[in-house]
Amino acid sequence: MAEGKRPGGLTALAVLNFVFGGLSALGILALVALLGTVNAVSGGELASAAGEGMAEAGLGGAMLLITICLSIASCALLIISGVGYIKQKRVMGRTMGSLYGILALVGTLLALGAGGDFGLAEIIGLIYPVLTLIMVNTTFKEDLVN
């Protein structure tokens, strides 16, 4: 399909990707800045206490690292696929969008596997990734071909 005939839904999906991607990037930056500041102010004491607290809650260092890596990857995929939707690209839009959806599902499954709880908050968090996964592979499949 020609680039000029982009459906409104695809544009809306791209805008939402940029919004969620931007918010996700802000969240990651804020977390890193907060951890850095806390570490600097307390001379490492608060950070080690927080680490012990997380270990007690069952959230080990490896799990924290995986969570942060997944968040960064999701954020990047959201923004890249957003650009892909605008340009109606097959790999950049459909593939990256699908990858984002799969990554979000994998992230939730990993969290559940690590002893996390599955509640309504997790379902709400999965609305957008699942919707993305379905829409880029059905409704907008024929639009993401460039």
Partner: protein
């Protein structure tokens, strides 16, 4: 004789309405409005459910009152006198009605439905604001007018949005009901699903007049965003105006507040909790009122759509 045959052939047709409705429903997801509505309705519906369920689950996690599980805790809290009074205040009803909502039926689902019904008029606007305005602006309807009558387009789009709304509402309710049944497990399945079905019909009948209102506004304005803004303003501002009117009548003219229940009945909003009433007569009256508002808005919209320049 040719024009007469043509006019008869192109008059109001149920088949045309059906075709336009099905196409409109299928096309809804491809348009930005449909996608946003689906996202907003799912998020709002599940957030409202989470508002009631998550605190109960957290209490249980913290080894809450007497080691109760979520089901016992929800029954103990939601069937208490304090919640009963709150429900009476929200629904502006008596103790019999609050007992019907909280004791005769699954209280957790009733609480979710009471809040969800407040959100429905506003969320509905997001799905229904662009029934015709976008195509009027782009002059796209001219191609359709070669094949069918204006009434078929107007009603077809209305039915299409209605079908899309029903599918979205069913999806949201299904997630909530499955969660309450399998995760919370507080109520017998039959009671839960029967009450869920009644809640679903309440949401459906409440959304009807608002979709019709949006159909009317949408055919009046050439800009989809303008249509959304006006639909939301009418849905919200009408309530503020009626509240001020009621307040003025009570304070300045010393009218008995009890005799002013009719004020909010002049808009669909005032009938919403009657859709969940224990008495079938009250429920049917509310349904008829919703249908009446819908027919009224559709009549006004169709009259305007038939006259306007497309």
């Amino acid at each position: 004789m040719e024009p007469t045959t043509s006019t008869v052939a192109r008059s109001w047709s149920l088949q045309h309405v059906g075709i336009i409705a099905l196409y409109s429903m299928r096309f809804a997801l491809r348009s930005g409005g449909g996608l946003m509505f689906l996202l907003i309705f799912l998020t709002v519906g599940l957030s409202v459910a989470s508002l009631f369920i998550t605190p109960l689950e957290e209490l249980v996690k913290m080894d809450g009152p007497d080691g109760m599980n979520t089901a016992e805790l929800s029954m103990t809290i939601l069937e208490s006198d304090m919640v009963s009074q709150a429900v009476e205040w929200i629904t502006n009803s008596d103790s019999a009605q609050s007992e019907y909502l909280l004791k005769d039926n699954p209280a957790l689902l009733s609480a979710i439905l009471l809040i969800l019904l407040i959100a429905v008029p506003f969320t509905t606007c997001f799905g229904a604001f662009n029934q015709t305005s976008g195509d009027i602006a782009s002059r796209g309807l001219r191609y359709l007018l070669l094949r069918t009558e204006r009434a078929n387009i107007f009603l077809g789009r209305f039915v299409g949005v209605l079908l899309f709304t029903i599918v979205s509402v069913i999806g949201t309710m299904l997630v909530i009901l499955l969660y309450v049944q399998f995760k919370v497990g507080a109520y017998p399945g039959m009671d839960l699903w029967a009450w869920g079905f009644q809640g679903l019909t309440a949401v459906f009948f409440l959304s009807l007049p608002y979709i019709a209102l949006c159909a009317w506004i949408s055919c009046m304005l050439d800009t989809p965003f303008g249509s959304l803004a006006i639909c939301l303003l009418i849905s919200g501002f009408s309530l503020a105006i009626l509240y001020l009117l009621k307040l003025t009548l009570i304070t300045s003219m010393k009218v008995d507040p009890e005799s002013l229940d009719w004020v909010f009945k002049t808009v669909p909003w005032g009938w919403k909790y009657e859709l969940l009433h224990g008495s079938p007569v009250v429920r049917i009256t509310a349904i008829l009122a919703m249908l009446g508002f819908t027919v009224g808005f559709l009549f006004l919209g169709l009259r305007h759509f038939n006259k306007r320049d497309l």
